[in-house]
């Protein structure tokens, strides 16, 4: 059994800095709005809370000094994916009504499974001996750009192919089929 170091309350208070407070606020935003995403009855509200949760994740990236990823998170997730889902939601608005039941009958089992996995993950996090030291980090945008075009150039090109295929596939799937009017 590895030894866990638990500091007493006084040193704990001295250890807490502005950075810790910022992390707690961000984590609160992320987890609170994520919990609302999966529980709120109106799906449109749930989508708006999902946007708030993504914004909180972007703040977490800032705390990890991943400035490029934080900006991309806002652009891609909030700017593209949320808007896409909003369109899909409005196109299928008839199922959006709040009078409908929104959870399946198996939700207690779902909650049980989620809690079980959470317990396992937390146990691994606490009892693993992490060895790390934090060093200051310079802005990452330029380094990521260089890495994407040198060391990771093959996955980078593959990602563009994946995006192209997804775009073509989405257009083919969502296109209205006009060939069989009799059906």
């Amino acid at each position: 059994m590895p030894h866990i170091h638990i500091p007493d309350l006084n040193t704990l208070i001295h250890m807490i800095t502005l950075r810790h407070l910022a992390f707690m606020v961000m984590a609160g935003v992320v987890l609170g709005s994520a919990a609302l995403v999966v529980t709120v009855k109106n799906i449109f509200h749930s989508l708006l809370f999902l946007a708030l949760s993504f914004l909180g994740v972007s703040g977490v990236y800032f705390l990890l000094s991943a400035d490029f990823l934080a900006a991309v998170q806002v652009l891609v997730y909030i700017g593209a994916i949320i808007i896409l889902m909003m369109f899909a939601l409005m196109l299928t608005h008839r199922v959006m009504s709040t009078s409908l039941r929104q959870v399946t009958h198996q939700w207690p089992f779902a909650a049980f499974a989620a809690l079980g996995i959470f317990g396992v993950l937390i146990r691994v996090v606490i009892f693993s001996p992490w060895k790390y030291q934090l060093q200051p980090q310079q802005p990452t945008t330029g380094i990521i750009g260089q890495a994407l075009l040198t060391r990771y150039v093959l996955p980078f090109e593959l990602a563009s192919i994946v995006l192209l295929m997804a775009m073509v596939g989405a257009i083919v799937l969502a296109k209205e089929d006009k060939s069989d009017d009799s059906a």
Binding site: A34, V38, V72, V76, F118, A159, L163
Partner: protein
């Protein structure tokens, strides 16, 4: 300095909220939202590990960029499938779309 464990705990909690959403919701779009939450949790883990264990290689962040790409592709194709299903069945509740159940 924030301990690495805090980020891991945040990501574990976010992942499990996503799992609950995927398993318990009826509407297909809500299930997609749960999947997006889980992908975000994985991304937080990637960036946190990259920052704390290999600070100057940025491998974690590059991987997070690729996860983001795949998440965008998945959302596009998933929503196209959802719209197509809705057009054919007038229905999006996954417990009633059971045509292949036999």
């Amino acid at each position: 300095m924030i301990p690495l464990e805090w980020y891991l705990a945040l990501s574990a909690a976010l992942f499990c909220i996503g799992i609950y959403g995927v398993l318990s919701r009826r509407n297909a779009i809500s299930i997609l939202m749960g999947i997006e939450l889980m992908l975000n949790a994985a991304n937080i883990n990637l960036v946190a590990f990259g920052r704390y264990l290999h600070p100057n290689q940025l491998t974690g962040q590059v991987f997070a960029v690729f996860v983001l790409t795949v998440a965008a592709a998945e959302a596009a194709v998933g929503l196209a499938i959802i719209i197509s299903v809705y057009r054919n069945r007038e229905q999006l509740n996954v417990d009633e779309i059971d045509l292949m159940k036999g």
